[in-house]
Amino acid sequence: MSEALRSIIIILSVIGGVMTIAAGLIWVERRLLALWQDRYGPNRVGAFGLLQVLADMIKVLTKEDWIPPFADKSVFFLTPAIIAITTLLTFAVIPFTSTILVADLNIGVLFFLAMSSLGVYSVTLAGWASASKYSLLGGLRAAAQMISYEVFMGLSLMGAVMLAGSFDLRVIVEAQRGLWYVVPQFAGFVIFFIAGVAETHRLPFDLPEAESELVAGYHSEYSGMKFGMFFVGEYIGITLISALITVLFFGGWLGPVLPPVVWFLIKTFFFIGFFILLRAALPRPRYDQLMALGWKVLLPVSLLNLAVTGGIMLAGR
């Protein structure tokens, strides 16, 4: 009984925590971007502008929820939910500490890769169901970008998986007790981070949205809370990738003095901040540059990383 209750509490607090962080990131991102652009950002609503989150939520919930008459209605309706659900589901396998995790899945890494593959459907189908040319172009770009970057996103993780000898994220963290995997797997970390930015289609890899060329890309036709779901999905995605980098390369909850959850949150928020810094600093590459970088540079490097890691492990046996 108490075991079941404990699970329910953990599940609810994980969902609540992740949703709160995702909503709060609206404010965090705007304040951080402002900081790096010598501005203030939202600082009027409540203390430090914190209630801006609430104001934005009221705004997005009370907006007219318009479905264009030419859209494929059922798919149009479904797609915003897919991205939010797939990213949220992945948090089930993230170990926040050795005891706080929803599902101790022994194929946690594979579960994440499967869910992020499903997330591609959301963006691609949203572009298709909108039946508008800009949305379709955005959806097309999203399909190509996310599928190509998924290939070596999986490969870049395999180094860490090989070192730990397990797909279980908790075991991977425990295996980093001596040395964080960012040291032996630095190439893997860099490639995973770049692929993660592309996977969440964040700037500089926001080609599916590309507001300067495609209006708003795949979600041009979306309004109200349906658009809000894409937004929330994007922020959950950022949190997810940051949490995964923490777990796979930076020793998860491991750290001295402070309690494990605090260490986990500090590391995660560091990478969330880096995501936002990338947005502030870098311009969007051209579509062919993105593809060339993926297939001609990052894929060979991740394969090489895998081969070298495997070779060293065999030699050391």
Partner: protein, 178 residues
């Protein structure tokens, strides 16, 4: 690749730069004295209305936001019966001020004119007319131009200066310079 990292580093360093935002309602921005803001009608040093209702401002106005009606007082001096500026149309170009031959209409440094009701942006003469002389303290149009009344032409009265010769190249004398 290196340039990407340098760009990220350069942006990160902006964290320690001062912010350029002026926190407006608490912190006032510098407004230059020639700012083109809310339009006023000024009075001459004797406290009379400067406006002679010549309609030049209304003609110069590119958006037709100035409306007035000329009338005369008992001495044959012209003044506007009503003077109306629709600030919801006004583009604050300052052409009216340039057109005005008597320095009556002037633009000020005030720009905080927000209203909840659009109709309130229509200013009547009582809203426009100020008690002072505005930017030109000593100027009195009739002292420069003269005024012909019945039985006397401009500059003919006892101790009256002749009117300024508009065709001359020399600058016209103003009251403050005399």
């Amino acid at each position: 690749m290196l340039s990407v990292l340098k760009a990220i580093w350069a942006v990160l360093l902006h964290m320690f730069r001062p912010r350029v935002t002026v926190q407006y309602p608490e912190e006032r921005p510098h407004i230059p004295p020639r700012w083109r803001g809310r339009i006023i009608l000024s009075r001459d040093p004797d406290g009379e209305e400067r406006c002679v209702a010549c309609y030049l401002c209304a003609v110069a106005c590119p958006v037709d936001c100035i409306a007035l009606q000329a009338t005369e007082d008992g001495h044959g001096r012209r003044y506007p019966e009503f003077f109306r500026i629709n600030f919801s149309r006004c583009i604050f170009c300052g052409f009216c001020e340039e057109a005005c031959p008597t320095y009556a209409i002037q633009l000020t440094t005030d720009f905080e004119m927000g209203e909840y009701v659009r109709q309130n942006l229509v200013y009547e003469k009582e809203h426009l007319l100020i008690s002072g002389t505005g930017k030109y303290p000593g100027y009195n149009f009739y002292r420069v131009a003269g005024l012909s009344v019945k039985g006397k032409d401009k500059g003919q009265a006892e101790n009256e200066e002749p009117p300024v010769d508009l065709k001359s190249l020399l600058p016209g004398r103003m009251e403050s310079e005399q």
